[in-house]
């Protein structure tokens, strides 16, 4: 029997594909997805509001907990912004240690993603082995900072610990192993026939689309968009240690695998260079407890793309407002668009292709749709609320 009705497959918020909650609705015609939508916000934690009740130093640790994977870049973004407001700069050695940690974190994040994405594609062998090798970098992070996640490296005005010779040797040894393994994984994701059947030509996004949807990070770079905060607006020690941009013209899932894997090599190179030319000197600089009034924007390149912090101070010990925009939020539009035309079974792969981080991006977003904007008085709002509940 023919029917004109649409068939919508709801997935989530709790679902087997991804570990974090998000609700997706895929309109299907047989196996083929004809429309897709996403609903976020299940793990909204009110961190930005919480920030207003904590002093600058306490916020460092609060914002580090926005993301469990890229925790260090969050703290770095905040620290850079606050230091700029205070008119100080972290000492060169502290800056270098910050980006050293950021690159180690990028390695751990990309290896984690490689495993998760392979798992979504049913390639659990790659998942197991990439995670086994990720332990090498996790151990390095642990030996440097004492923790596997939430390293707490940053202070406002510097870093907590130094990189000693024994750490340097351990890192270099670890990188040698990782480099060899990464070469193997690059070979696997570009030549394994069964895996390529899941990635080649799937979720293809042209450069124009990538620009239009405002994608960031490796997702954009896999579509040929040369966009990387480390290159476009170098911060901290990235001015001393320039980054070579990794891009790919493919735009499909395979390109995203290739870009992220090649970025690993770039991180290995960068870490070796930092360790060879680690500036000497102090680790911290004195920052006043009260940050002068003003506002600033702090941008850093997280493993998933550009991380944006808006920081406003009213001259007190506590911030007036901190606004965070994480890279995952920018990449959602691209997923919903490129999903159309693909099989339902490809959805987990396309979703994990942007390396989504749900709890990172769950923040209050107000979309101003032009004509629908209006100003309501408190009374009108109250009346609207009463009417709304009467109807229910």
């Amino acid at each position: 029997m023919e029917t004109q009705r649409k068939f919508i497959v709801p997935i989530g918020p709790q679902h087997p594909a991804l570990k974090e909650p998000g609700h997706f609705q895929f309109t299907v015609d047989g196996e083929i997805v004809t429309d897709a939508s996403v609903r976020l916000g299940y793990v909204h934690r009110g961190i930005e509001k919480g920030a207003e009740n904590r002093n600058w130093t306490q916020n460092l640790y609060l914002f580090e907990r926005i993301c469990g994977i890229c925790s260090h870049v969050h703290a770095t973004a905040l620290a850079i912004g606050v230091e700029r407001l205070a008119g100080v700069q972290a000492p060169p050695r502290a800056q270098a240690i910050r980006i050293l940690m950021a690159e180690l974190e990028r390695i751990h994040s990309h290896l984690l993603w490689l495993g998760v994405a392979a798992h979504e594609g049913g390639f659990d062998t790659l998942f197991m082995y990439s995670w086994r090798d990720r332990e090498i970098v996790m151990d390095l992070l642990e030996s440097l900072s004492g923790n596997r996640v939430n390293y707490s490296v940053n202070l406002i005005g510097g870093v907590k610990f130094d990189v000693e010779d024994k750490h340097r040797d351990a890192i270099l040894r670890g990188l040698d192993t990782l480099e060899e393994r990464t070469r193997h994984y690059l070979n696997v994701v570009t030549t394994d026939r069964t895996f390529l059947a899941r990635t080649r030509g799937v979720g293809t996004m042209s450069r124009n689309q990538a620009e239009l949807f405002g994608t960031v990070g490796p997702t954009a770079r896999a579509s040929g968009v040369a966009r990387d905060v480390r290159v476009d607006a170098p911060y901290e020690a990235y001015t001393l240690f320039p980054v070579n941009l990794v891009t790919d013209e493919g735009g499909d899932l395979m390109a995203r695998f290739v870009v992220r894997t090649k970025e690993l090599f770039e991180s290995y190179r960068l870490i070796r260079e930092i360790l060879d030319h680690l500036p000497s000197g102090e680790l911290t600089v004195r920052v006043p407890r009260k940050i002068p009034a003003g506002e600033t924007v702090s941008r850093v390149e997280a493993p998933r793309g550009e991380l944006f912090y808006f920081i406003k101070s009213n001259g007190g010990e506590k911030p007036e407002r901190i606004k965070v925009r994480t890279p995952s939020l920018c990449n959602w539009a691209s997923v919903m668009q490129v999903a159309v035309g693909h099989k339902l079974a490809d959805m987990p792969m396309i979703l994990s292709g942007i390396d989504p981080c749900f709890s990172c991006n769950d923040r209050m977003v107000l979309i101003n749709r032009g004509s629908s904007s209006q100003v309501w008085s408190w009374d009108e709002l109250r009346r609207y609320g009463i009417e709304y509940y009467k109807k229910l």
């Binding site: 900072s145 004492g146 707490s152 202070l155 570009t190 030549t191 026939r193």
Partner: protein, 145 residues
């Protein structure tokens, strides 16, 4: 480009001849990394009672109770369950009174008692505990039920 099948077969076969990677914890305790931030310890000798550790603690895990500021009688009440082990207090202390142990990190417990730790001179802790006990008893008397 040549496409292959079973590119990871080599890894799998090699792994079959390796010994298991699992560790026999808790029977064999693995040494923690040198910089691990474990349980917090406080040395009252040099403390001036500046409260900088308390002010910057992101999780309100430490309280510095002043018994007598002039004779420097302080008691530090530490809550390991609230602590996020960030070591900001250790960094803040100018007199190196605080340090985090890399030895004591097995802090799980089934009761609540181990999660309130008192540091200080024995007589000060005794004095504080007695004071708290007196206050608690006093409240109970005032209670109408």
């Amino acid at each position: 480009m040549k496409f292959k099948l079973g590119t990871m077969l080599g890894d799998v076969i090699r792994s079959a001849f390796k010994s298991p990677a699992t560790e026999r914890y808790p029977f064999v305790r693995k040494e923690a990394p040198e910089r691990l931030r474990g349980k917090l310890f406080w040395d009252p000798a040099k403390c001036t009672g500046c409260q900088l550790c308390v002010r910057d603690c992101p999780s309100e895990a430490i309280e510095l109770i002043v018994l007598d500021r002039v004779s420097k009688r302080f008691v530090l009440r530490y809550h390991p369950d609230r602590c996020t082990y960030c070591a900001q207090c250790v960094v803040n202390c100018r007199f190196n009174c605080l340090n985090m142990s890399s030895e004591e990190w097995e802090l799980a417990a089934t009761g609540k008692e181990p999660f309130t730790v008192y540091y200080g001179r024995d007589e000060d802790i005794q004095f504080l505990l007695e004071k708290i006990a007196r206050e608690n008893a006093g409240e109970r008397v005032e209670c109408p039920e």
